[in-house]
Amino acid sequence: MSWKLIPRPLVDRSSLDLSAIQPDRFRDLDVDAVARVRLGLGNEPIELGECFDIEGAGGDDFVEIAGSVKTSIYLGIGMKSGILRVSGDCGRLTGVEAEGGTIDVAGSVGFGAGSAMRGGLLRVQGDAGSGLGGAYPGSSIGMRDGTILVAGSAGDDVGLAMRRGLIAIGGSAGAGTGRSMIAGSIFVAGTVAKGTGAGMKRGTIVLMDENTLIDEAVSPTFAATGRFRPHFLAIYLRRLDELGFAVDPRLFGCECERYNGDLIERGIGEILVCNPYSVT
């Protein structure tokens, strides 16, 4: 059995701190204990039972929020294991510093989802706000490990200062994708805006949309270094496919144009632009 939490209208009133909803800790609780879990609404503490109708029972590490919690903050923060499913949208800083487990959002997520994440999987069927997988505001290191899959589009600063891990975006991404990236991999199926990879030290950004205007998206401090067929790309794409991320089948084994940079930083990062017509 698992827990099903149905949001009451109250939850949209003010910023709702959901950091206490942790699947692994909910496993052994009874319904009264779940109802008494302390959340925060605005600047006041509030009990979970006041914000959600509770159904189900414990027993496994699975919690479903059956609805939208658009004003939520810190849902799944520091999560270690289990599955957290949201059937609607959720708010800011979802999955911050998560170390393991899965957060599955059927709707969209707001600002800073997966920032400073250390492990686990964050899957979003809708769109993501800015700062996806980036650094917690003020800190200098973004996502350290784990996987983030977004079926829709993402805002600005995807993977800001990310250190390790994988981010894949099914739609387009905003400005500054992979900005100040330290390492890791970012895949974008749609278009990207300006400042892609600006200040990146290492890491790989793969742009899969043939219509990408590279001169607009990438700064002149990246050097075109020719075309090649990276073998690792097929492995990565197969892995994304397995995770349920829609991949254009023409891209397996395709040729890529490689840009090397950012040369004002260490300059050993790369931006790969896929050519879907190149498969032989």
Binding site: D17, R38, G40, N43, E44, P45, A135, Y136, P137, G138, S139, S140
Partner: protein
Amino acid sequence: MSLLKIQGGRVIDPAEGVDEVRDVWIANGVIVAAPGDPAIRPSRTIDARGFVVMPGGVDMHCHLAGPKVNAGRMLVPELNRRGRPIERTELFPSGSLGPVPTAAVAGARYAGLGYTTAIDAAVAPMGAISARMELADVPCIDKGFLVLLGNHHYVMDAIRRGEKERLRAAVAYILESTRGLGIKIVDPGGVERWKQGKGAVTSLDDQVEGFDVTPRAILQALAEVADELALPHPVHVHSNHLGVPGNRLTTLETFKTLDGRRAHFTHVQFHSYGGKPDNPGSIRSGVAELADYVNAHEGITVDVGQIVFGETLSMTADGPAAHYLKKITGRKWLSHDVELETGCGVSPIRYDDKSLVHAVQWAIGLEWFLGVSDPWKIALSTDHPNGGSFLSYPQIIALLMDRGLRRDFLRRLPERVRSRSTLGDMTREYTLEEIAIVTRAAPARILGLGNKGRLSPGADGDAAIYAPDSDRERMFTLPKYVIARGEIVIENGEFRAAPAGRLIRVEPAYDRDAATEFRRTFAESSTIAASRFQPQPDPTHEEITAPCQKNI
């Protein structure tokens, strides 16, 4: 009338030389003698039998409020978020901890350690309005602040022109209009010189361009003003070259410059380094000579600025020092030019027990505590948050009281600390009475706050009651009772009340006509309307006045 009796505790009140079992009576927030008439019954009795009763703690140097504290909060949101958020309770609003706790959390946590007074050590005159508004939100404790004058344009101009009258009047006017408690001198002349792009001062005799004064002249003139105005607290000096190896020579020279005058030297740990200025790794202790000087001279007092290992935030009016730190750590940094008055620098720092430099700094702080023979000359501080949070005071107390603990701590540090510091050879252990001196009685006396730091009749009804414990850190972390102005703030370790706390300030007598020129200059040169800079009571606070008479 509320009459509180603290019954049968071991009262440690060094200001009166008391260490004995006795009762303490507090009537309407003030300590009174035991009523002679046995018919008079207290309205409340605290059974303190078996407990230790001390005056409320006094932190004479911390950074609690004002523009730079807020700049610090904005610079490191990622540090402030660490740890559990503090939830709203019936008594306190919600907040956060981190290196710079929010206002209400700071007040509550100070009281939670048995402290009832804290003084913010550096507020630019222009930042005073904002600092006061923020201090009004710090509950439980009485507070005050020192006003930065060591790089003030008008002050330096008046010194160059030799206009003592006008200088004295301007300083008094600034103290009165800001509602400050005393004069703070930070890196005299050095901040202004650095702001001009000329680098740090090289000695106390460097000229500050445009003002033709030297750091030495600034120190002497302001110390003289503090004496002439009979301010309760002498000049509070943060000398030049903070944090730079080899700065012990500058510090000694600064001591000598103010010889014969009253002066308080702050966070001396940061000013007692041997080694070569261009090589941070060459740092070694230079405490011995400086502590000897303090021991041998009357009128000089110090607070330590002990560092504590962990992540914290450095914030100072010493722009060049913050820049120096930023160059070493490579971390983010904020610098602010406070027009006409001073500078400001903020940068995060992590004191790491694997780092030789930090380990030596840690040892130097403790060397100061153990090297100054008269505890009345030294006050406990971490320069919160620069050296570490005030929340680590119990840890420092435990280290002072137990040389075994120090030895164990030293073992965790890099081996080479032992050749750079004499801490390992120091066997002194503080007694409870000496702890009461360095955390309460001495800072109150140095600040000239006659009603603080003592438990004799007439003093403010501030007391902390601790349960004796061989684990001194636990003992001082969790007081059994804390009483502020006669009100029980903490009872059995739980908060019962959050009284507002008052602003302590001075009201020096001066020639108002002589301040006219300062007011005119301010109106002409400042971007802030002169009307914002008028002596008027601050409605956000209950104010109390520390009387102007030399206490040291």
